[in-house]
Amino acid sequence: MDCKNISKKLIFYAENNLPEQDKKLVEKHISSCNKCKQELLIIQQAFGIINDEKNLQVNPYIYTRIMAKTEQKNTSKIIKYVFRPVAVSMIILMGIWFGHKASDIYFKNQENNILTEEQQFTEQNEIYVVNDISYEDYYFITNQ
């Protein structure tokens, strides 16, 4: 049998899963073919690696880790479904309240400004009247 056909059987030979006849053929071939022998060694080593991995042990504190995570998830659920909507609504309400307050202050200031301007205007007019000069006359006099 040639290398190509033997190569296909090597993995089954390595796991002792070949009929007796095929097993003998593989053994005969690898005794004289270094390439197939090396390939078989690689497969056996690969199976050895799988066996080593099978012996790895799970984290002994996995239960504690799982419970901690579930509690964390519960807390994040509470945050997500309770605290977050409350916080968002509070921020919106505070925004509205501040907006309202700010507009109040703004309009009050504007009213005051209008009042003071009116006051100043009437005061100035009074001065003009007292001096017997109208505003327009005063303007021309000063700009001449």
Binding site: S7, K8, L10, I11, F12, K35, Q38, E39, I42, I43, Q45, A46, I49, I50, E53, K54, L56, Q57, V58, N59, I62, Y63, R65, I66, M67, K69, T70, K73
Partner: protein
């Protein structure tokens, strides 16, 4: 205590002791499957954690239609396949900026090997990498069947129940998986000798 009683306790009373018993009973089996997929302790522990958290989250709606272990293995294999897919996508994107980490590790080991000629450990590392890559490159169903068979020593019948397939389909899947692995490991021989 049988599984169905434990699950009843968890289902009805949120019984944490029963949950602990279930975890203690199955954690190593779930971990074994995850190791078969990822070959990495930390990721496998994460998978165990995710699977049991998932069970805890759906405990109220959980109905035991088949064996609990079968359900657990199904969930584990599905989760592993999904995580692997996600990781592949991440690796594909990270490949744009840098070489993938497995290759980097291998390169580092190669460099170390030139400094300290520990030929056997290098060879083993090379075979380990090749084996992991070979298993991960198998088609999904072949990969699952191979891992359940080789890492957990599950019988064809058990695998057929977990994968919802007939026993003969599992047999054929495993045969194809092993033939594919053989081909990929032959390439390793060529690489080691070049």
């Amino acid at each position: 205590m049988p599984d169905f009683e434990l699950i009843k306790k968890i289902n009805q009373n949120d019984d944490q002791e029963a949950f602990k018993t279930i975890i203690e009973k199955y954690k190593q089996l779930v971990f074994g499957i995850a190791i078969g997929f990822f070959h990495d302790n930390e990721t496998a522990n994460d998978i165990v954690q995710d699977v049991f958290i998932k069970f805890w989250q759906i405990r109220k709606d959980f109905e035991l239609k088949s064996k609990f272990s079968t359900w657990l293995y199904k969930v584990t294999t599905n989760h592993c396949v999904n995580v692997q897919r996600r990781k592949k996508i991440i690796t594909a994107f990270s490949f744009l900026s840098s070489k993938n980490s497995e290759d980097k590790n291998l390169e580092q080991k190669l460099l170390q090997n030139t400094k300290m000629p520990e030929k056997d450990s290098f060879r083993e590392e090379h075979i380990k990498n090749a084996l992991n890559k070979a298993i991960n490159s198998l088609p999904k169903r072949q990969r699952i069947a191979f891992i359940l068979n080789k890492y957990q020593n599950f019988s064809y019948k058990d695998i057929s129940e977990i994968m919802d397939l007939s026993v003969s389909s599992v047999e054929s899947l495993l045969h194809r998986a092993k033939t594919n692995l053989q081909e990929k490991l032959s390439d390793t021989y060529k690489n080691l000798n070049n």
